[in-house]
Amino acid sequence: MQFVEPTLNLSVILPIIILTFSTLLLMFVDFWVPDERKDITGWLSLFPLGGALTATFFQWDTIKGAFNSSVLQDNFSTYLSILYLITGMLSVLISIGYIRKRGHGRSEYYFLMLFSLVGMMLMGMANDLLIVFLALELLSIPLYIMSGFDRTDLNSEESALKYFLLGAFSSGFLVFGIALIYGAVGSTALPDIAEGIATSGTVGLAGIAMLLVGFMFKVGTVPFHMWTPDVYQGAPTSVTAFMSVGAKVAGFAALMRVLISSMGSMDEKWIPALAVIAAATMIVGNIAALTQTNIKRLLAYSSIAHAGYILMAVTASTKSDDGVGAALFYMMTYMFTNLGAFAAVMAMERFSGNKQLDLDDYKGMGKHNFAFAIVMMLLMFSLTGIPLTGGFVGKFYVFKTALEADLVWLVIIAALTSVVSAFYYMRVVFNMFMFDGEIDMPTVPNALKLVMAVAAIATLVLGVLPADWYTIAQNALMTTGG
């Protein structure tokens, strides 16, 4: 075997290179940052993100593969990378003050977050199951640690342990699926799988099933959602915000690429399975959220429900041209709304005694801090899907694409569960405006205010003037390049 130098085509992974190496640089710089002023590292970590974001913008509308096409750069991956990097920036902003108190000022938090983002970006670009697996590990391992970052808090430790065990378990499923598919097809590259999967028989099917189970664990859909509420509740809230958006979107990104570009020919096999999972997810997520009294748990069940809506668009993506676009647009609205909602939760949270995470703690907020209450209301409206918010437009396109794919029964379930979801989201709003109560709100750091403002404005813009943004999402097509 002669060694042939591989074609590198480094421009494809330029944002990843920038992010990785500037993070490594930041780790060195961090040596000179005194222990009590680790906030500086947090602020500095915005630079790698900004650099990677700039490089990503220049990638729009170019389609290229690198490393034997095992990673692809197309508008799909570019769009997603931009989403992750914005998620990263907003997450860093909400984390800075919070980690000083709850993470005891350790700066590794930011490095872990940046490396996790590298994994997420790779998830969107991966065109080979091997890369999908490695990217998934690279995104998950930092999240396990980050959810246990507050070592003095037992809940945080419980969260990390549960997330780690179930994450390892689901990775096992994923690898088993990959192995079976490799056994059936003889390759892990998605284009090769697309060629061979239709004739691969039962082993290929078993592989697809295992692969789907692995992905469903990661994105937290019913019946693989059991870990979500405990992990989301126990983890530091900034981590919950980050993973409820980043990890979920990344899981869906790889799922879409794998399903559409390599298993599109098998869609009559996986569409029914995914449709049932999507329906179960929307029903269980929304109904279980009704009885929650803790706002983090409520948002955890809400994120399960939203995974169901995204999955609905994924299910429709081979039958309807707009499936991918609708899913991507939904992810954008979900990102801003959810990050904003968690930022609001963090603004209220305290670190000892009554942690102020109960829904009852929001009673009387309308009188105490009107701006906060209005922003929170807007975000809750968006999560419900009330018109003039991004959430409504996102749901509208998802429903439309599912109708185009003849999934009428699924759309009916989705619409009904959306109505159910109004009950629990509105409970937050009612508590804020209809009740009187003593509010003991800590002073809100400016960074949190900024994130809430960005989230509110983005939610409104996406709700009132969605056309241009939806066009961008529609143009974020994936190539099946080989």
């Binding site: 095992s70 872990l112 490396f115 080979d128 590990e137 082993v203």
Partner: protein, 170 residues
Amino acid sequence: MGHPIVFLILATVAVFAAIGMLTSRNAVHSALYLVLNFCTVAVFYLVLNAPFISMVQITVYAGAIVVLFLFVIMLLGADQLPKASSNGGLQYILAIFATAGLATALILQLSGFGDGTAKPESALDASPEAIGTLLFQDYVFPFEITSLILLVAMMSLIVFKAQKRKKQDG
């Protein structure tokens, strides 16, 4: 693929070692069964004309990983597991059905009765040189990602270790 009898003997040993690992109540015995299983798999690789992978299997799995297991088991004194708390027969039944289904699918396909096209590649070059070439030629990017994953794992360990020390100091 060697002589069929060699395969049958090895396969029997491997399966029984795996079952023994699962059913043994003594954690040390479990770990030793695991070694046996790893070693038989290593011989499989040898028979399949892949000496390098076979040696890696022995040094990494049967060597390093099982030694680590044994260390943890003995350090924690967890060599005697408590009586298993059976959470209902349903779980067992489901597991048995799923395993049987998967096994049937695999057997049907690999023995040629299925509709599949999978064939084992017999003339695979699995020398260290070939693996090295493959690793740095086709799989250089996954290789680099792995290095990043290891870095993250190392950092994670430091985070947990250092915080523990801080707690003891304070």
